[in-house]
Symmetry: C2
Subunit: 418 residues, 2 copies
Amino acid sequence: MNAHIITIGDEILIGQTLNTNAAYIGSRLIELSIDIKKTSVVGDNEQQILNEFKECFNENDLVIVTGGLGPTHDDITRNCIVKFFNTALVLNEDVLKDVKSIFSKRGRQVTKLNEDQALVPKNAKVIRNKLGTAPGVWIEKDNKIFVVMPGVPFEMQEMMSSYVMPNLKEKLGEPEFVTTRLVLQTTGIPESFLFERLGNIDELLNGAEMAFLPSQFGVKLRITVKDKTTEAANNRLTEIEQKIRNKVGRFVYAQGEETLEEVVGRLLKERELSIAVAESCTGGNIANLLTNISGSSDYFERGVVSYSNGSKVEMLQVDEDIIQKYGAVSPEVAEQMSKGIKSISGTDLGLSITGILGPTGATPGKPIGLVYISICDINSCIIRKFLFGEDRLLNKQRATQAALDMIRKHILGIQQDD
Amino acid sequence: MNAHIITIGDEILIGQTLNTNAAYIGSRLIELSIDIKKTSVVGDNEQQILNEFKECFNENDLVIVTGGLGPTHDDITRNCIVKFFNTALVLNEDVLKDVKSIFSKRGRQVTKLNEDQALVPKNAKVIRNKLGTAPGVWIEKDNKIFVVMPGVPFEMQEMMSSYVMPNLKEKLGEPEFVTTRLVLQTTGIPESFLFERLGNIDELLNGAEMAFLPSQFGVKLRITVKDKTTEAANNRLTEIEQKIRNKVGRFVYAQGEETLEEVVGRLLKERELSIAVAESCTGGNIANLLTNISGSSDYFERGVVSYSNGSKVEMLQVDEDIIQKYGAVSPEVAEQMSKGIKSISGTDLGLSITGILGPTGATPGKPIGLVYISICDINSCIIRKFLFGEDRLLNKQRATQAALDMIRKHILGIQQDD
């Protein structure tokens, strides 16, 4: 089965909104080994939408469309469906009930605009919306499937999980061949160095495929194997993974899509370690990521965003003299911050970070991008120096990632520097 | 001039990487009133890339391609350019110099793989890469323009700003008609309520266009006016803006793409107010966003992520009895937290937040999504209660946005609740 994903909306075309929907749908379709040929974005323009429907429905077994189903005047997708399939709108009582129930839960009155969301194309199967008011539709014609869902990401995602995926699975039946994929996420090593450390790629892969996906968080390696059975494919994947880990295992922080903060959270939980963090330049982002994880209150005790020098002295027991002598961005202050946060919190680990993220703040000998990170346990403290780039927000993300990776390496007893 | 944006990469197609590049390029092209017809994503497959080049170059005046120019084996875009334009690769000495200089700055050796990045298609103009090793190319043929840039976002963005935009501007000359756009960002009011408060949309717009763009951060209104002169278009925009502000002005936090944290930062700076924040459920995200802004150290004094009850008592002077009596998620604790953080920091404003973001932690009478936010100044404290949804990360973003908007309304003296 091959597929095309269409996203509708001027806001995507002109870059006001990121196309997270196509990404999400893509990631789900490959779970079913569906071959995604292309994704496209068209604006809120009837003729362009109809052209795109036609071209994509001609060339693919499955077309998935999102966007333009809302209640306001600029939502024209439903009318395009009616025209494209030459059908009409009918009132769906179940959807009307859903709409009324959502508004009553929020303590708001249902308006005519909202009630109209219960009008759906005749002959379409309705995909009910558990999180919003616009329903989705599933249409089958000429042995092909045409699915339309609202553009609000969490509403669409719920529909994919509870309706579209199970129904596609049923349609597909048993697969002829199996594609398995493995993602290894690395951090702390540039793409070209990773490539070279891996040696002869063809020999390593032996017919499999591998992609290098660099970003500010590190380089993802995506390995793809096709084989006749899941077992055969998995065996080959495992063999390749082992070879990669033998060469660059220290830099691999996750297998699959687990984030570094999830890995760190899992490790802290498994080893029953608690942590507290003192952040200067990252301004709370390390605490923010650690607390994104449900259950993080089991190991994350507190955070301090000690942006001013006064707050470093008052809250983290940093010596004012040390700040005067070495500056707030120094290994000495980093060490005192990590010792201080550990001591006041009574945690097993204390992490600290201080640096200059730019664009201002550089001083002689201390360029933009200079960051010190320190981690302390009951026995000792280590301090690492990093030199990132010029961009404030990229630096914040890189520094946060580096700090999380220091925690990971510390817990696992892995050598810190490359 | 109409345009098509092509993004190359399996990682985009299968949703491992968000297509931020198409969004960025789209946002830049509309600055020049270039009409973006469509954007598409194709995988790392020579035949599909060549087909897409052909179709898009036939139908558009401008094609912009990103991705697949890196140094590793899965980067095949450069060879596709060579085939499509029936040309060859030649060594470019300037690029070779750039590559060598980048590696020497980072204290790393240049490898053969990196040196090969200096091979560029003959007859193409080279777009030098100031932040990485893969150069871009600009090709003109049959009065059309074909631009290819690397997929690493910050490298591509730099090339757009320093080369592509100025060159496109020169090509375009004086425009025949002018399109002006205005974005008003609202928060704290659902899409359908905003729509209804605006009344008769056709009357309001009088020939202009308006789109509603909802997300967890609020609803953006995008108004588009076409007219013969910039002045005429701007006058009509101003008139519409005024009408909208008269009806829902309280919910409008920004004009254009300014983020709420930028707005709040600007207001704090203008009024010379300092702030400190005490976060429980948002885990540092409010501090994180406030410190994303360069210069935030002028007004952001410190943050405390008081995740444990102990940290609320020890760091924020919250009464242990009050936590016992009312629970950590209560208006009473929120108020004490905001008073506490203001008092220990000596700032003009103290903000606090406590809530249950889920998926666990609900108790009888305290559902998931319940959040209290409090803001104190020298005179008084206000506390607001919010009820968000079920999803932890969405709740974190919504709660953060609500807290930032409370600061905004407080500084501007705007009524807090709707």
